[in-house]
């Protein structure tokens, strides 16, 4: 099984630790994981801001010869999945890959902190890693299954207000939505807020910092690696 | 029938034992279980102008609106409880323009 790690460009720039942890997690399961050096950006920022791009085709060229492409970002995965490229069907978000392909569960069973999970829109309503409340389908949540511990969720599974280009065009409503999401989660007294999309988490953290909320926010790969790392 | 009555009441409708004075009375052909609505063929202004409307109906029901469509061969109106609105601060009020009260009376026998 040839596996490639996709390092989302914004993670490469703003939080490279997430890429490192994701790689460590995959290698923990004895997988042959390569990190293609030629990868750049999947094209999402251009598509979502209305500019034509051939970056998804470039992405396909880089990754098409792998069996699986694993990415710690559901928004990049859904960008590629919504195209009709060879790589479209091979790309998985990290938790989705652990759940669907490796069939690993309960990694964080003994995690000592109370985790709040932010179900991001791309994960929930584009990749269906869980059941969106809008649909009449049985409840499920792959990320919760992968974690396997008691999980706090927001009372509304609505958007946190990041929305990429939205956060740069509608700063105020973006802030209000993030503030509402934080309040919703903080009301349930978690120790840490996590999720599969660093973009949402970065947005929430920027608000928490500005408003002086005392809450730890980290990407799910960091929690999963904490649980898997035998040297700790 | 219980499910029909439950849904009729949810929509603000009543089950009447006899025809009270001062109510406009008309005939319904059947009821729809999934939403407590009744099919009235006779489309008269009194249905909407009257304060209180009662319909006499047989104990004839279909489960869903999809099944109801099979029985319709003329224009008319499905009615589900009294006229209502929630346009003032989402507060439900009966008697928006039409009847304030709406009831059904089952035909005797069968």
């Amino acid at each position: 099984m040839k596996i490639a790690l996709h390092v989302p460009c914004y993670i490469n720039e703003l939080n490279p630790e997430i890429a490192k942890k994701t790689l460590l997690i995959l290698r923990h399961f004895n997988l042959d994981v390569k990190v293609p050096k030629e990868q750049t950006c999947c094209g999402q920022p251009f598509i979502n801001s209305g500019h034509p791009t051939t970056l998804p085709q470039k992405f396909n060229e880089v990754f098409k010869n792998y069996d699986y492409v694993v990415s710690p970002s559901s928004s990049c995965v859904s960008t590629i999945r919504s195209q009709t490229l060879e790589v479209s069907k091979k790309m998985f978000e990290l938790c989705e890959f652990l759940h669907d392909v490796l069939k690993v569960k309960n990694i964080a069973k003994n995690y000592p902190k109370k985790i709040a999970l932010h179900n991001s829109c791309h994960s929930l309503r584009h990749l269906f890693e869980g059941s969106p409340s809008e649909l009449n389908i049985p409840y499920f949540n792959k990320i919760k299954e992968v974690l396997g511990c008691e999980i706090i969720e927001a009372s509304r599974d609505e958007c946190c207000g990041f929305g990429g280009v939205f956060s740069l065009k509608e700063g105020f409503i973006s802030y209000v939505m993030g503030r509402n999401k934080l309040d919703d989660l903080l009301n349930k007294n978690p120790d840490v807020i996590t999720g599969v999309d660093f973009s949402c988490l970065m947005h929430l953290e920027s608000i928490a910092k500005k408003d002086g909320d005392n809450i730890e926010i980290k990407h799910i790969s960091e929690i999963l690696w904490e649980c898997l790392d035998e040297t700790l | 029938m219980d499910e029909f009555i439950k849904n009729l009441r949810l929509a603000g409708g009543e089950v009447l034992e006899e025809i009270p004075d001062g109510w406009y009375v008309t005939q319904a052909e059947f009821g729809v279980v999934e939403n407590g609505t009744v099919w009235v063929r006779e489309y008269k202004k009194e249905l909407f102008l009257s304060e209180k409307v009662a319909v006499k109906m047989p104990k004839k029901f279909v489960k869903t609106m999809q099944e109801a469509m099979e029985l319709i061969n003329s224009p008319g109106v499905f009615i589900s409880g009294p006229s209502k609105t929630a346009d003032v601060e989402s507060f439900l009020v009966f008697g928006a323009h039409g009847p304030v009260r709406f009831g059904i009376i089952f035909d005797k026998g069968l």
Partner: protein, 426 residues
């Protein structure tokens, strides 16, 4: 003013209350649709029926016209808003009408019928209580099913000159005032939710009974309706009647589902309106023609709930409005497809499965002009080397300049720290 500015003003005055009220309706809707086991199959069916209709629209229009005429309804076809308004005006002039009672119709809003008739000396009374409230306030509806959702009971009392703010009192007060208008009106105008092609009937769904009073009291009843509202048969209608009210407000069905054929005591006229719809069939936005105006996409939209409908400035606001408005006027509404986080909630609630996210992204492209800077960056990003160079430049740029460049972010949030080293670094 653009969406983001209007949104700030609205949110600061009324946002939290508006959001709460609409979220409550979203929850009622969730409960109602979860009582229908086959809900997701109904969506699939409804979507297929609508695909069938829009792919053969010309044929269905012909069939409907033929059968409606047979039924005894007078039929007109209007190619645009102007023609629609003129047809309606001529019909009213014929009977020397002075006053018209109108029940909610998004199409007459789209055509600007009220203004058109009022300029020609015909009084138009909106009779849906919510629409009457906004009409008296000199506003437009802010939501297509809950037109006055942005107002408070105090504001309603004020517009009626009342000091009592009890919703029941105010509703019955309006009922009294409007009853007189109904009894003295010369004609009634309404929209229609569905047209049944094989029967030639028009179907109107309301809770208040205002459309029915307008249809049954005056001698003339005009139905103004877009061509895309056709469904092939009664069997198909059944699918939509199970979904419309549940999805819109969480009711199992509206109080009245009126099926109109020939008018017993006068004349019924249907004005079928194109107004760009046939042209839209040949564009990548044709799927917007599947919309049944249930309004669930507005109610669920997290941006709409906080910004209010007026921030969209178009007759139809929210996600579906953000697709329709730019087709009407690209320059004026170019901000709307961006008043959206692509959260996809609209697509999840849509009863006819309009692929909202894809359509909104396409609409962003449609309204966006070619930009050299974007093109240059996009081309450069094909090369990891160039990417690294950009990354270096950003790291060397003083934070104050970055903050300024990303002002909408920095105004409300901390600026993220950029670590010195990347993971893949050439």
């Amino acid at each position: 003013m653009k969406h983001y500015e209007l949104a700030i003003n609205f949110y600061k005055q009324k946002g939290p209350r508006h959001d709460k009220a609409l979220w409550a309706i979203r929850q009622k809707r969730d409960k109602a649709i979860k009582e229908v086991d086959e809900w997701e199959e109904l969506r699939e069916k409804a979507s297929k029926i609508k695909d069938e209709v829009i792919n053969n629209l010309q044929d269905y229009v012909k069939e409907f016209i033929k059968n409606a005429k047979k039924e005894g309804i007078e039929l007109f076809f209007a190619k645009d808003a102007k023609e629609h308004n003129e047809i309606v005006f001529d019909l009213l002039k014929e009977i020397n009408a002075k006053k018209v009672v109108k029940s909610k119709s998004m199409l007459t809003e789209e055509c600007g019928l009220n203004e058109f008739l009022e300029k020609r000396g015909i009084e138009v009374i909106d009779t849906d209580l919510g629409e009457r409230i906004v009409q008296l306030r000199g506003e437009k509806p802010s939501h297509i099913v809950l037109p006055a959702i942005h107002t408070t009971k105090e504001e309603v009392a004020e517009i009626l000159g009342e000091s009592n703010t009890d919703p029941t009192y105010l509703t019955h007060k309006m009922r009294e005032l409007l009853r007189n208008e109904f009894l003295s009106a010369d004609a009634g105008i309404s929209g229609a939710n569905f047209l049944v092609a094989d029967k030639g009937w028009a179907v109107v769904c309301t809770n208040e009974g205002n459309a029915d009073l307008g249809a049954v009291l005056p001698k003339l009843h005009i139905i103004s309706v877009g061509v895309e509202k056709i469904v092939p048969s009664m069997r198909d209608l059944g699918v939509f009647l199970r979904m419309l009210a549940r999805n819109a407000t969480g009711q199992k069905i509206t109080t009245y589902t009126s099926i109109f054929g020939r008018k017993e005591n006068g004349k019924r006229v249907i004005v079928l309106v194109d107004n760009g719809r046939f042209e839209r069939l040949n564009t990548e936005f044709k799927e917007t023609l599947k919309c049944i105006r249930c309004s669930a996409c507005l109610t669920t939209c997290p941006v709409f709930r906080r910004s209010g409908g007026h921030a969209y400035r178009y007759v139809i606001p929210g996600p579906i409005g953000s697709l329709l408005a730019p087709l009407n006027n690209k320059e004026e509404y170019s901000d709307l497809p961006f008043a959206c986080t692509l959260c996809n909630s609209c697509e999840m609630v849509c009863p006819v499965k309009i692929p909202f996210s894809k359509q909104l992204v396409k609409m962003r492209e449609y309204v966006t002009k070619d930009d050299f800077a974007f093109k240059f960056i996009e081309t450069s990003l094909h090369s990891p080397f160039a990417f690294k160079l950009f990354s270096k430049i950003i790291r060397l740029t003083p934070k104050s300049i970055l903050k300024k460049a990303l002002n909408e972010w920095s105004k409300y949030k901390e600026f993220p720290t950029i670590p010195p080293k990347r993971f893949i670094d050439g």
